[in-house]
Amino acid sequence: MVLRRLKKSVKKRLRHAVEGQHATQHAVEQFLYRQADLLDSKRWEDWIGLFTEDGVYWMPPEPSYTTWDGTPAIFAEDKNLMRVRMGRVLHPDAWSQRPLWGTNHVVSNVILERESPDGEVLVRSRFHMMELRRDDVRHFAGAYSHQLVRTKDGYRIKLQRVDMTNAQAAYDYVLQVWV
């Protein structure tokens, strides 16, 4: 009898845990999709707003790197540098940004890696981005790793790591906004 009750309560707790995990998975996926959508819609200010005040966007030149701090980086940007990039891209004389260009992101393979009791989440995912520049179509792909914190406004990014597979070869392109 006691054993049965105990089993029941464990089951219930497990169910709650699974439901909680499902809820987190769903919320995190929605967050990633929205972030990609902001990029593709060129809503730079809203995109920067997804980072915490000390948040960092980082793209290492190769996967073996373990920190952005003090290492060569394709991107290693805090909010201030993000604002420089935004200001530049919006300037009418950013020559490389004058020609027509647009992107289309698909984010998938979302793996919830870790969730701490205070709601901090580590989530890994894969992306595929098609870019049109002038008459050229290019493809970029790789892995995202988001360290998210829960705030009253929803999730915010403490660290976004982007391991772009293309970065292993010579750069036959420039990346003028975040990937």
């Binding site: 394709i74 201030n80 420089v84 300037h91 020559w95 490389s96 940004q97 970065a167 420039v174």
Partner: protein, 442 residues
């Protein structure tokens, strides 16, 4: 037909202008690879890229795939990346360690680090009575005709004859002195990452841009203004605080207005080498710099220290393949891939014995200016591409280099720009003069 045209190279290059085919003609490209890149001293890499025996790095010299390898004797060799047996490329990776010897992946011929044949499977039974074997130099990997290094920077020449490396570098060797002297230990070591950026334009267009003092405030104004805005916001927020120096480097594109660039000077030397003086002003009085100064004074003494940090260089161009920013410890090596495709390899160096903060300062510049997400070079690359496209058209025959032409001061074999003529196109004229000499076979 090309031979006829090239026989009179004078038709292509005049003192203040150059025919557009010099940039766009594939046959001229082939000839310049042969007469320039596969003849003169070309930068291969830094010795610290290959610290251990067997470490190698591949490098393109002109059209030749080469590799730089450290031998067991400590010597750095430069070899053709080719097996003498059937021509197989010896290494397929861009860099790595080959172990105690090279071993061809096709038929297992093995070679010492200096390229000498070590062994062939069943050498005796297979080759007895033939002309092949250890005594035949054609059975060894071919070496670059000449290899020399200066302060750890390794160069190779594929021509047996010609000036020595130091004769070739002349005054431009200051690029390496200035970089290394700024280290308390007098040496630099490579930061193990290389940004490799492909430009869709002729290699000369890139080199001509490097000392072009008129372009920064036009090409890079968007970044300059954006950085200046954020720099002001940071300073305001921090009350009397200041934004990191990297913001200042970027905002200079907006704050140093176009008319101010004439205050700088270029010095133009034989072989097409040129120096752009001034501009960076990397002697701020922040705590990081002061701590560095202290270490430097301890290492060199006050007088020598003043000499070292007083060297006033922004950029040194070592024609035809290297652009060095010595005060920021970075260099860009130019590898032409085709008449309209150019690879730049961009390296950053650490000053041995200098504080971490000094490394980080130049690292910020390396990332911001030279990464493929660059806030700066993106607009250069756009211009280079547009330049090449325009030159392919029949809308005109010439590229002109007339700015301040005739006002340069000739002092022996050095051409200096006159006072307040810093935006002179003297460096381009100097490069094309060297180009014409090389192409004539002079």
């Amino acid at each position: 037909m090309l031979r006829e045209r090239i026989a009179d190279i004078g038709k292509f290059v005049e003192p203040d202008r150059v025919r557009r085919e010099v940039y766009t003609d594939p046959q001229i490209f082939e000839l310049e690879m042969q007469r320039i890149h596969e003849t003169v001293w070309i930068y291969c890499g830094h010795e610290s890229q290959v610290p251990k025996a067997g470490d190698y790095y591949t490098v393109q010299i002109g059209r030749q795939p080469m590799l730089m390898v450290r031998g067991a004797d400590g010597k750095v060799n430069v070899l053709y990346n080719r097996c003498p047996h059937r021509g197989n490329m010896m290494v397929g990776d861009r860099h790595g360690n080959t172990g105690e010897f090279f071993r061809c992946s096709y038929h297992a011929w093995t070679f010492h680090h200096d390229g000498r044949l070590k062994n062939i499977p069943m050498l005796e039974s297979g080759y007895a009575g033939t002309r092949y074997g250890r005594d035949n130099p054609d059975c060894s990997m071919k070496k670059a005709a000449r290899v020399e290094s200066y302060r750890g920077f390794v160069f190779a020449s594929l021509a047996a004859d010609g000036p020595t490396l130091l004769e070739f570098l002349g005054e431009s060797k200051v690029a390496f002195d200035d970089m290394c002297d700024r280290a308390p230990g007098g040496e630099v070591e490579v930061v193990p990452n290389c940004f490799r950026v492909i430009q869709h334009s002729n290699w000369k267009i890139f080199l001509e841009n490097q000392l072009d003092a008129l372009h920064p405030s036009v090409t890079h104004q968007s970044t300059g203004r954006a950085a200046h805005e954020v720099e002001k916001q940071i300073a305001k927020k921090a009350k009397k605080g200041e934004a990191p120096l990297s913001y200042h480097m970027l905002s200079a594109f907006a704050t140093v207005t176009i008319d101010k660039w004439d205050a700088f000077q270029t010095l133009n030397y034989p072989h097409g080498h040129c120096i752009l003086t001034g501009y960076m002003g990397l002697r701020p009085q922040d705590p990081d710099t002061l701590a560095y100064d202290k270490i430097m004074i301890k290492a060199y003494g006050q007088r020598r220290f003043e000499e070292i940090v007083g060297v006033n260089i922004h950029h040194v161009l070592i024609y035809p393949g290297l652009s060095v920013q010595s005060p920021l410890q970075q260099l860009r090596a130019v590898r032409p891939l085709g008449v309209d495709r150019t690879l730049t390899e961009i390296w950053h160096f650490r000053l041995k014995g200098a504080p971490e903060a000094i490394y980080r300062r130049s690292l910020a510049y390396y990332n911001l200016v030279n990464s493929p997400a660059t806030l700066v070079n993106a607009d250069d690359l756009e211009n280079f591409w547009k330049c090449h496209q325009g030159l392919a058209s029949e809308g005109g025959d010439w590229v002109t280099f007339g700015r301040h032409h005739g006002r340069d001061l000739v002092k022996g074999n050095v051409v200096e720009t006159a006072p307040n003529c810093g935006t002179s196109e003297a460096p381009m004229r100097n490069q094309m003069k060297a180009w014409a000499e090389y192409m004539r076979g002079a």
